[in-house]
Symmetry: C2
Subunit: 195 residues, 2 copies
Amino acid sequence: MNLENKIVLASASPRRRELLSQIGINPRIIPSQVEETITAHQPDEAVMELSRQKAEDVAFSQKPGVLVIGADTVVACQGKILGKPKSHEEACQMISMLQGRNHQVYTGVTLIYCGEKGKKTVTFAEKTEVFVSPMTQEEIWEYGWSSEPMDKAGAYGIQGRFKAFIERIEGDYNNVVGLPVCRVYHEIKKMMEEE
Amino acid sequence: MNLENKIVLASASPRRRELLSQIGINPRIIPSQVEETITAHQPDEAVMELSRQKAEDVAFSQKPGVLVIGADTVVACQGKILGKPKSHEEACQMISMLQGRNHQVYTGVTLIYCGEKGKKTVTFAEKTEVFVSPMTQEEIWEYGWSSEPMDKAGAYGIQGRFKAFIERIEGDYNNVVGLPVCRVYHEIKKMMEEE
């Protein structure tokens, strides 16, 4: 696929950008400025809604031929949705909740292709089940007060030091990092073939 | 755990070294020189046997207080064991075999703690199920002739460009990269607590 200068990522996340560049897609970065509004109550619906708001906000001002990617990730554990922690104390609380059991990571993705005759939109959510090992109070404290949890949904980064506590996953690993690149790659391919 | 200067990795793999350093363990590297001999027929037994040979070879000359890690990874698909490809042609053959179905990645690990009163050994194998998406001939060819497959069991690196084709996994992701760090971390912790 020749996608040079065609892909725009409506997210400031350096991890999403890196995932795309690792599969040969180097997007332009135009972070969405949209005020995020969630009306959905289910995590998969909420991330789809947010990814769509971000993608639409940026696609609005794009020229024909451009494909915009919007994405949003949350962690769901025991009926609660966890976003990014606002403090190290909150990070420790989230880690305490996650340790010793499984939880779900949802990433919602919206792709908008700006065609000559109008826009084409695809939205989906990908779920990955994550199993965290039991942790001691000291391990929770040490991790919660490190720099890793602060900008991440659920207060951990699967690709960082926290990997010592990830027993297993079921689903797409990169979905937990922030973008289900396998599905994204195949959906982009399909959109491009249809054009 | 204070493991400074205590851990030796009996493997030249830069990926295993990096995984350990990401969880705060910076091992000395002493690659095993052992002539690898497999007598086992099952993939899990074969990787345990090889990891043990590597660890024992290096532990032989270590002082008390040192913990040696040996590891070996193979890919099993439709009853065949795939090691590292010897050519780009063989890499393309392996990728053709893996695409559109699931396979198993086995990493065998042996930990040898060199105590004052003798050595203590733990050996285990970890399995991860990997589901690869269908690929076109062009995608197989392009990947098989890139530099990525050549030093990797099964001819792919899950952490590189091939992530575009990994639909999902069941198990420890880092086991596919080359070392099940979560299990390794907890086994080392247990060994150190028992000392």
